[in-house]
Amino acid sequence: MKENRNNIFIWLVNPFRFWGGSKLLTAGILVLLLHIPVGYFFGARFDGAIDMHISFDVSLLQVTTDVIIAWLSMALSFFVVAKLLNAPARFIDVAGATAVARIPLLLSVFPGYLFVPNAATVEEILALEGSDLYLLVAGSVILMVFVIWFFIVLFNAFKINTNLKRWKLATGFLLGVIVAEIVSLLLIRQVLEGIL
């Protein structure tokens, strides 16, 4: 079971083969902390377990609340699903992996910011033409690459921490993501409404 640690592709899609435990959690916390300045300065919100939206007017409180709830809901959801399916997961690994898996989502802020369309409403977006339209299409394609990358890393985070196979793996992952998304959307709204 020799693994090539110099294989950059494995590091990009499945760093969890080499990193786990406290080392992965430390890296994950650093990733989460990076969300705050990036979100604040580029006007990005992470208002859901699998969400990133450019909204420009973002406060430090909003982006911090977003990130903590988005990450915790995903980590807890994956962990509970793993336990329900009798998978031997440790919370420290799941917590670290779900935080590190957010790197593509964090990086997607930059193309999202650069390619944001010069339109505020759906009608304005539909009316785009010429270079504005090309920019919108190019931005969408680049963002899609980051979204796919994010889901591949997230899937590997779930897979390696649960060692589930076949239908249990697919069902568990989908269930974990859907539950995390619903819980995070509700919690972020509740918490921010309570504070603001």
Partner: protein
């Protein structure tokens, strides 16, 4: 010329069933013993799996130590062990 080290084949190249031992030879006096002997379950494992078991014993069963030594994460090592346990259970089940 370097001679390649041969490994013990454990599955039939024709139908992929598990092989059995029919003949053993003493390398000292060339005495041959014929019969029908089952291969021990551990010998049914491949080279990587045997290496893993060797490392597991050497590290007193500590997966944390193994993950450090092998440069892999704890979940990766634990998954490998769980898959190995499943395989041994399956071999055991096939024998019964």
């Amino acid at each position: 010329m370097n001679q390649k080290k041969s490994t013990l084949p454990v599955t039939c190249p024709s139908c992929s069933s598990g092989l059995a031992v029919q003949s053993l030879i003493c390398p000292n006096c060339a005495t041959t013993v014929n019969g029908m002997f089952d291969l021990p379950e551990l010998l049914m494992l491949n080279k990587d799996e045997l290496t893993f078991i060797f490392q597991f014993v050497k590290n007193s069963g500590s997966l944390k130590e193994m993950s450090k030594e092998m440069g892999l994460s704890y979940p990766t090592i634990r998954n490998y062990l769980n898959d190995l346990i499943d395989k041994l259970n399956q071999l055991d089940h096939e024998r019964e």
